[in-house]
């Protein structure tokens, strides 16, 4: 990968991952408002907004770093995808966060539909709490992933260690 292309991909990767983190923070705030507000209009607006930011921002912002910029950056540089524990940990966090997001798409759609019909009731409380817990957990996971990307804690996987010695020029 040329230095110019690498910088472009890195910029895109940082933009999408930090944007994902920011949107999950927004989702978490809306989930808290939806759970705690006594104003029915605000509650309904919160769940409708949650559906919008999920489909139009969070879903694309989670898939692009996972499937495109992340693999491009790691495989196109000496860092590799499976050579360092911190990159592996980030990969696991991103896959899990995306899976949790996909699992919650149906409940998000359901709450938005109920909100649109002004039909949210006390029976939906479990789902509302679940939204707060899931988005809070995702927020913590993405913060950890961001910390890993910045601090890059040392530690090479056995695969990376072997690769390193295979690639060493014999002299």
């Amino acid at each position: 990968m040329t230095p110019g292309l690498r910088k472009f991909v890195r910029t895109a990767h940082i933009t999408f991952t930090v944007g994902w983190l920011g949107m999950v923070a927004g989702f978490f705030a809306l989930a808290l408002v939806g759970l705690n507000s006594r104003d029915a209009q605000i509650v309904n607006a919160a769940y409708l907004a949650m559906k919008m930011i999920t489909w139009y921002v969070i879903v694309p912002f989670s898939f692009i770093p996972l499937l495109l910029t992340g693999p491009l950056l790691s495989l196109g540089t000496p860092w590799g995808l499976f050579r360092h524990y911190w990159i592996l940990a980030k990969l696991v966090i991103n896959i899990l966060s995306t899976l949790i997001l996909l699992v919650h798409l149906q409940p998000i759609n359901y709450l938005a539909r109920m909100a649109a019909e002004a039909a949210l009731s006390s029976a939906d409380r479990t789902l509302q709490i679940q939204m707060v817990i899931a988005s809070g957990a995702a927020l913590v996971a993405l913060l950890i992933a961001t910390g890993l990307a910045v601090y890059k804690p040392r530690g090479m996987t056995p695969f990376g260690w072997h690769k390193q010695y295979e690639e060493r020029p014999s002299s």
Partner: protein, 85 residues
């Protein structure tokens, strides 16, 4: 970034932070599975069950109406209930 480039002298032993990460990961996974088994996870089981205001809400409205409780105009028009004033 350059300070942490692949180092040829690295040992393949697992660093402590990875062990901590794995332990936390296992604990969170166990919690998620436990919550799901207790019926608190993912919620997909009951989504199809509730598609309108709950039975409890309806019963409450009928009971309050029967004892003469009246509602603000907007709520009364929405739910066909007796209005105040």
């Amino acid at each position: 970034m350059s300070s942490n480039q692949p180092n040829r002298g690295s040992s393949p032993s697992v660093p402590p932070w990875v062990k901590v990460f794995v332990i936390i990961f296992i604990v969170i996974l166990a919690l998620v599975i436990a919550l799901h088994l207790m019926g608190f996870g993912f919620g997909s089981h009951r989504i199809s069950e509730v598609s309108s205001p709950s039975v409890v809400d309806t019963v409450d409205r009928v009971r309050l109406t029967s004892i003469g409780i009246k509602y603000p105009l907007q709520i009364a028009l929405t739910y066909n209930l007796p209005a105040t004033g």
